[in-house]
Amino acid sequence: MKNSIIESIEKIGWPRIIIGLFLASMFVIAPFVGVSVGTSISDVLVRFTFNGVLVLSLLPMVKSGCGLNFGLQLGIISGLLGAVTSIEIGITGFLGFLIAIGVSIPFAILFGIIYGLLLNRVKGDEMVVATYVGFSVVSFMNMMWLLLPYKSPDMIWGYGGTGLRTTISVEKYWFHVLNDFLSFEIGGVYVPTGGFLFFALMCLIVWIFFKSKTGTAMTATGSNPVYASSSGVNVNKMRLVSVIISSIIAAIGILVYEQGFGFIQLYMAPLYMAFPAIAALLLGGASVGKATIANVIIGTFLFQGILTMTPSVINNIIKSDMSETIRIIVSNGMIVYALTRRKKARG
Amino acid sequence: MKKWIIKISFVAVIVVLGVLLFFFGRQHEIIIEYGDIKINETEYSIGEELYIVKIDSEKIEIQNKTSKFSRSTSTLKTSKIVGPNHSIEVYKNDSPGETIRKDNFSVEINNNAKINLVSFINGFDDWYSQKKIVYDE
C-alpha cells in the first residue's frame, strides 16, 4: 500500500501536489477571512479563459524538441500588431476581434519563420538564445510603437502626438467579446462560456493537428530526432513548423488575454510574459521534453488559482500584499525545478 | 592540525576587523547646548560673540541670537561625528589664536555626545554627558 502511494505521488509529481493542496487550503480559509468563494471562483474561471491559450501556444515547440519557448514574446508581438491595426481600422465587436486575429497571423508566420530558422541553428542552446531574442524584439518594438504610422485617437498620445500609448483600452472595441458570449451566473459564480468555448476550440485544433501526419512526425522529432530523420522526416522543417504554429497560437492567445483583461499593453509589458505561461505549463506536469494538452489545462487552472486566491486570502490573513512575492517564488521556482530535471537517460 | 589553527585564526581576524570597523565607523550625533546656565546663584552666558567650536577637524559656529525677529529660541546645535574618541577646542571667532579651552572626550557605541558650551568655557568639569541613541520617528 505504502509504495503505491509513493508511486502515484511520483506519477502526479510533487509540485502539483504541493500547489494543489495550497490552493485547496486557500479555498477553505477564504470564507473565514471574509473573501466570498463565489467571486473568487468566477475570478479564477475568467482568468483561466484568457490565459489558457497563451499556455497552449507553448505545446507544439515542447513536443517538437525545441524546449520551453522563452521567446514567446515574438508571437505576442504579432498579436499586438494585429490588435493595434484592428483598432486603427475601427471595427468593433466580434468582427473587430476576428480582424485582429486575421492581421496578426501573417505577422506570426513571418516572425515564426525567422525565429524558427535561428533556433534550428542553435540546437541545444535554444532556451537561453530565445530568452534574449525575445527581450531584444520587445525592446526593438518599443521603437517601432513610436514610429509606426497609427493615427486612431484612442491609441496615440493625447494631444495629437505621434506614437502609441503604453496601454490602450479595448472598451469600445472588443472588450469581453468572448467572455460575455452565452455567459451565465449560477450560485454567484459568473461563468464566461464564450471564453471556455474558444479555449476548447483551440485545444481541439491542437489535439487534431497532433493526430495528423505532420503532427505525428513532430512528436517523433521531439522524442528522438535521429529516429525521425532515419524515417525520412525533415527534422529542421518539423521544428520550424512547430515554431510557426506556436507563434500563431501565441498571437491569438494575447488577443484573447486582451479582450478578457480589457487593455492592450505595449512597450515593456510583454517583456516577462513568457515566464508565467511556462510556469503554468510546468505546473500542469509538463517537462522540458514532453507536454500534453492535459498539462496545459491543469497547469493554467492551478497557476491562475494561486494568482487570484493569494491576494485576497493571504493578504487578509497577514494584512499585507504578499501575493506578488509568492507569485514570483512559485512561478520562477517551477521553471528552475523543471530545468534541473535530468532529461530521461537516452537508451 | 596546524592548518585548522591558521584557518580559525584567519576567520577570527576577519571577525575582529568587522567589530573594529563597527566601532570606528559608527556615526554618533554631537549636541552642543549653549544656553545660559546658573550655578549656585551666578549666571554664566556666552553673550553675543561668535564662538567657534572645533570638534576634531570640523568647525561649528555658535552664537546667541541677537535680533529680536528671529523666532527660534533653541540654544542647541547638532552635528555628526564618527568613531569613539574626539577632541574639542573652543575659541572666539575674532581671536582664533587664543584657544579658550581644549579637551578630549569619548562616546560609547550606543550613545550620542552632549556638550554644554557655557560650562566648558568657564572651566567647569560637568560639560560633557552622553545620551543613549534613540530613533525619533
Binding site: 531574442v133 521556482g333 | 565607523g25
Partner: protein, 376 residues
Amino acid sequence: MSMSNSEKVKKFLINNTVPILFVVLLFFAIPLSGFSPEYLANEMITRLGRNSFLVLALLIPVMAGMGMNFGIVLGAMAGEIGLIFITDWGVVGINGVFLAMIISTPIAIILGFVAGLILNAAKGREMVTGFMLGFFMNGVYQLFVLYGMGNIIPINNPKILLPRGYGIRNAIDLVNIRQAFDSFIKLKIGDISIPVFSFIIIAILCIFIVWFRKTKLGQDMRAVGQDNDIAAASGIAVKRTRILSIVISTVLACYGQIIFLQNIGTMNTYNSHEQVGTFAVAAILIGGASVAKANISNVFIGVVLFHMTFIVSPRAGKELVGQAQIGEHFRVFVSYAVIAISLALYAWRRQAAKNREIKAVLDEQNEAIENRGGSQ
C-alpha cells in the same frame, strides 16, 4: 604551425566582430550626441570605477565552462543585504563599506553554493537556469527583506523601515557611504576627477584573477571548462570545482554591487539588482568575450563601449529621429541584442565545428581519388 599575417588579421576580425561593430556605431553616434569630450571622459571614468568590478565577476565561471553566469544577481542581493545592515547600524564611510562587504560575504557564499548545486543539476543549460534562478531568488529576497526584516530580524532605524513597522523601504539613501571609496583618494586633472582608490580596488581584483589562473584550482577549472568527462577521468572533482567557480563569482558580484551602489549613493532595494546580470553580460560580450572565452581586456573595453553607447544613444536618437525616447529604447535594445547575437553566434560556431569534422573526412576522399587517379 604559425599563422600567416593575413590569417592572424582574419582571426582577429572574426573574434572581435562585436566590439568593432560598436566602435563604428559610436563613431557616428558620438558627434551626433554633441557631448563634450571632457564630459564623456568624466562619465567613462566614473562608470569604469562603478561597473568594472561587477563585470570582472563573470570571468571565473566562463573559465570553468559554465558560460555567462546570469546568477551573479544572487551576489548583488547579498551585497544589498549587507548595505541594509550597515545603514541600520549607522556605520559610515570606508569602514561602513568594508563592514558591509564582511557581513554579506557569508550570505554570498551560501547563495553561491546553492546556485552551484542547482547549476550542476542543470548541466548543459546552465545559463538559462542561472537566469531563472536570479528571478526565483528575487522572490526569496523579497520574502526576507520585505517581510522578514523588522519583525524577525531586528531593524531599529525607522528611516529605512516601511511605515507599517516591518519590511525595508523601496529606496534607501546611502548618504553615509556615498562616494566613500571614490572620494577617499581623489585626483583632479583639469576637470576630470579620477577615483583613485576605487581603481586600486579594481586593480587588486585583476591581480587576484591573474594570480588565481595560475593556481591548481584555476587549472582544474580550465580543464573542467574544456571537457567535464576527461577532467573527471583524470581525478578532478568536477562538481566541486564548478560549485567553487560559482561561489567565487557570487562573492565578487556581491562586492561589485556594494561598490556600484556606494558610487551611486542610493539603493532601490527591490530592483537595483534586477538588471545587474543582463548589463554585466552585455558589457563583457561587447568587449569581445564569448561564452567560452573571456579575459580581463574584454571587461574594460566592454564597459567603456557599453556605457558610451548608453550615454550617447538618447541624444543621438533625438538628433536622428527627433525623439529622445527612441534613443532610450535603442540603448535597451542594444544591450539585449548584443547578448542574443553573441549567444547565437557561440552556439552556431559550436555546431559548425561538428560539421567541419565530417567535411574533413569527405575531403580525404578527394585526396585519395587524386593520388589514385580516379576509381578503378
